[in-house]
């Protein structure tokens, strides 16, 4: 029984470790003072956040825009790629397997640096477009692997049945393969939205002046004097995360598995 007790203790310690810093942020966000000492309850940092932080909300809108566009494109490209790797043979299959695996395992900073050098050397202006291109690039391999893992359990005979019944290539894809693959595709989509909203390092390198995303904005807030507005923002983000996760069992299921 002591093994169980040990792992229970480790689990409790880990929970404390994971949540303590977040609890401190939540409590601090309601502190009326600028410092850490408790000066009384106040919602003034929330007022600052919602009513006096125009630049923050601009970067938030950019984040959402990039997350939605890059996740949609990367899901489409990654899903088609997964189908090709699972069911078809083609000349450059080995090459595709290697280049879709490598971005997953190389440190982020490598992609950030190489994209910055690429864009600069071809004189491509840094900004929202380069952020979109970068996010799509790092999302594609994640979508590919999530969809590929669903395809392992996919019964190809239903596709063959569709062909036998006269379906064209396009009909087989849109009427049989994609609908049956939807849970995997949605997992990939949610994963890439999350990764895009969270990315700091790659965006840091490829964002031009005036095109900061929310993580970049938070970074500059932390770096140039900590503002208690971050506390309020953190609480909103954490609450948003939990609400999204609880709102539907389905999302939770997709994210966990």
């Amino acid at each position: 029984m002591n093994k169980k007790k040990f792992s229970l203790n480790m689990f409790i310690l880990t929970l404390v470790f994971l949540y303590l810093p977040l609890v401190v942020l939540i409590v601090q966000s309601f502190n009326s003072g600028k410092g850490v000492g408790w000066d009384g309850f106040s919602l003034k940092w929330y007022d600052e956040l919602f009513n006096h932080s125009a630049r923050l909300w601009k970067s938030f809108r950019y984040s959402i825009l990039i997350a939605l566009t890059s996740s949609l494109i990367s899901t489409a490209i990654g899903t088609l790629g997964a189908i090709s790797l699972q069911w078809y043979s083609f000349k450059h299959k080995k090459y595709l397997q290697v280049i879709s695996y490598l971005p997953l395992v190389l440190p982020d900073i490598i992609m950030g640096v190489s994209l910055l050098i690429l864009f600069t050397s071809i004189k491509f202006k840094l900004g929202l477009v380069t952020i979109f291109l970068a996010h799509t690039t790092f999302n594609i391999p994640f979508v590919l692997f999530i969809v590929l893992s669903r395809l392992h359990d996919f019964d190809y005979s239903i596709v063959e049945a569709a062909y036998d019944l006269g379906a064209t290539q396009k009909q087989a894809l849109t009427k049989v393969i994609l609908p049956n693959l939807m849970p995997g595709i949605i997992s990939g989509l949610l994963m890439s939205i999350t990764l895009s909203l969270d990315d700091f390092v790659i965006t840091f390198f490829v964002a031009g002046p005036g095109s900061s995303t929310l993580p970049l904005h938070i970074y500059s807030m932390i770096k140039f004097g900590v503002s208690p507005i971050i506390n309020a923002l953190s609480v909103i983000l954490i609450a948003g995360t939990i609400a999204l996760a609880m709102s539907t069992k389905k999302i939770q299921k997709y994210m966990v598995s």
């Binding site: 093994k3 480790m10 078809y88 440190p107 992609m111 640096v113 690039t137 596709v159 993580p215």
Partner: protein, 278 residues
């Protein structure tokens, strides 16, 4: 129907995209690392290995040491913590809920997670305020190696728990009982049977912790001091401040090579398991 032409149609977009935006930039970085530094940043198209002469710099060697030390220590702590935690979750009746509890902080924005430790341990942070209230001297808890390791463990722990959880969930605990019946001690049964069986999970957890740690930029930048800067910080500095692009490219190339070697070595130990389990 599984002909080569449809294969080409389905694989063309991903192949083109990753070739143009992953393979090409990586190759450009390697090429740049062998060029001469431009006067105002950028490069001159003259072959040079100057980008690689950092090995003579004692500061650079110190940063390499920091990077390896911090990454190894953070990975060991993370994986050692993650195994019992994943074991507890996988054998619990409430595994979905417990998993959910672990994942919430994991979904919280990466920079917010770093920031939360500054709020806790910073010079004006909660802990120092408590020390002062108690009449004790404040202490500098952050801007050192300890803080970088601590925050790294915090950031990567959920990445390590998830693959371990999925490996342990597949493990049949009846084998442990069988080993016990045959006379193995509890500890021996876990070391000889449990650990080898969850090896794919341990390897994935190690990869998911060690590789992002090797390429760390934000954590050492925000909670590290001068003694705890890592390779990522030098790369960024050479790229944006010193503007020595060949050098930044050379260090990136070295980091890529180290990572690839590390993956090859680990995957040798991991026969039959397809990497990148998500």
């Amino acid at each position: 129907m599984k002909n080569q032409r449809s294969g080409l149609v389905y694989s063309a977009p991903i192949t083109l995209w990753l070739t143009l935006l992953f393979v090409a930039p990586t190759l450009i970085v390697i090429v740049y690392s062998f060029l001469k530094k431009g006067i105002y940043g950028g490069v001159e198209w003259i072959f040079s290995v100057e980008g690689y002469n950092f090995f003579s710099s004692s500061y650079f060697l110190k940063v390499v040491w920091n990077t390896v030390e911090i990454s190894v220590v953070a990975t060991v702590i993370t994986v050692l913590t993650a195994v019992p935690v994943a074991l507890y979750i996988a054998t619990s009746k409430y595994k979905n809920f417990l998993l959910f509890l672990i994942i919430i902080p994991f979904w919280t924005n990466f920079l917010i997670r770093i920031y939360s430790w500054i709020a806790l341990l910073g010079n004006n942070g909660l802990l120092n305020n408590i020390l002062i209230k108690l009449g004790l001297e404040p202490h500098q808890f952050i801007y050192n190696k300890f803080a970088v390791i601590l925050v790294s463990v915090y950031a990567y722990l959920p990445y390590a728990i998830l693959p371990l959880y999925s490996a342990i969930e597949k493990f049949d605990f009846a084998i442990i009982d069988a080993a016990r019946d045959l006379g193995a001690s509890k500890i021996k049964a876990y070391i000889k049977i449990f650990l080898p069986n969850i090896k794919p999970g341990i390897i994935t957890a190690t990869l998911f912790t060690f590789i992002p740690a090797l390429g760390s930029y934000a954590i050492p930048k925000l909670v590290g001091g001068n003694d705890s800067q890592m390779l990522g910080n030098i790369i960024a500095r050479e790229l944006t401040i010193t503007r020595n692009w060949p050098k930044a490219a050379a260090i990136s190339t070295i980091l890529t090579i180290i990572t690839v070697i590390f993956i090859l070595v680990l995957s040798k130990y991991d026969k039959g398991h397809k990497g990148g389990e998500i």
